[in-house]
């Protein structure tokens, strides 16, 4: 699996990346225009380097919160099944253990999100921003 192609054409041509579009999940191509890298998908969603990178950071947080929600949802469901006498479908003790484990996993994921450190674009004192071409 790769993020960028082996080399990015310097003549304005496009090369496929290993990335998908943050807006539509379509394949993304990259092209270089002087020092500016442009990423675009088949339908025309277009991003600069920092934008697509930070979109990937944002997507990561989004799916992690979905995972937190799913664990907490499952834990709540199983706890309620137990409380209302429906846990026997799975076995009461097994149901309680799974509910507790799901709650713990949600807590671990929260810690992962809260201690994660996504990238932000670097601002330089001399007025330049972003990367220079190799």
């Amino acid at each position: 699996m790769h993020g960028l192609p082996e080399s990015i054409p310097r003549d304005g041509g496009e090369a496929f990346t290993g990335l998908v579009c943050p807006d539509c999940s379509g394949n993304i191509v990259v092209s270089a225009h002087e020092a500016h890298l442009s990423f675009s998908c088949r339908v025309g969603h277009t991003y600069a380097l920092a934008e697509i990178t930070m979109a990937k950071e944002a997507a990561l947080e989004t799916v992690l919160w979905r995972a937190v929600f799913s664990f907490e949802e499952l834990a709540a469901l199983l706890a309620d099944l137990d409380r209302q006498g429906f846990a026997d479908t799975f076995g009461v003790e097994i149901c309680r253990a799974r509910s507790e484990l799901a709650r713990e996993q949600a807590s671990r994921l929260r810690t992962i999100i809260e201690t994660d450190r996504p990238l932000t674009e670097r601002r330089r004192e001399n007025g330049e921003i972003g990367s220079s071409p190799p």
Binding site: C24, E34, A35, H36, G44, T46, A48, I129
Partner: protein, 203 residues
């Protein structure tokens, strides 16, 4: 050091302004200095909410001697008029008409600056002048490159003056712009270019 802009005295009368955060102040800073007789067209994309009906044209119009309005799709491009992109559509130039469309977002934005700049480069060539003002992100960088490639001029607001310097900084870092100017200098440059005059930068 004095740098002469438009030394060949080309008439450049299609001005495209792109702005985001801090952009209203920047746009007012330019529009309030332009004469009502400016023989040019001004197209503006200001990043704005796709859902909120703001009265940007009315707001900017209070500070402009030139009439300011949002075009409808297919409206003719008139001289002596300021056009601002409506919410939730890209505004572009097609021959002598404005085009509005809900095409794919660029840089997560609609309207975005790049469609205006790139379409104006294609239709107006050397007559097009792209100006990136206060704002965040790199929308407009591709458009400025297209304008330069078509023989037009690219200008960035002096970052130290911009409320959010990111957009002009991107333009400076990635586009090698023709000029980096304060708002009052940009207004003077526009008046000079529309009259087919050169402009001495650095005095």
């Amino acid at each position: 050091m004095i740098h002469m802009i438009n030394g060949d005295r080309t008439v450049r009368d299609m001005f495209l302004l792109g702005a985001s955060a801090g952009g209203i102040k920047a746009l007012i800073g330019i529009l309030r200095l332009l004469p009502a007789t400016l023989p040019a067209t001004i197209g503006i994309v200001l990043h704005r909410s796709p859902t909120y009906e703001s009265q940007l044209d009315g707001l900017l119009g209070r500070f402009s001697a030139l009439p300011v309005g949002e075009p409808a799709d297919g409206d003719p491009i008139k001289v002596g008029q300021v056009y601002i992109a409506p919410r939730d559509v890209h505004m572009s130039v097609d021959d002598h008409k404005w085009r509005l469309n809900r095409g794919p977002k660029m840089h997560f934005l609609r309207p975005a600056v790049d469609p205006l700049f790139t379409s104006a480069a294609a239709s107006h060539g050397p007559r097009a002048v792209g100006v990136l003002l206060s704002g965040g992100g790199s929308d407009g960088v591709l458009g400025l490159l297209a304008i330069k490639a078509a023989g037009g001029l690219s200008v960035a607001q002096q970052p130290a003056e911009a409320q959010d310097p990111s957009m002009p900084q991107h333009a400076i870092a990635e586009d090698h712009v023709d000029a980096i100017l304060r708002l009052d200098q940009i207004a003077s440059l526009m008046a000079a270019l529309a009259a087919g005059e050169s402009f001495a930068n650095g005095v």
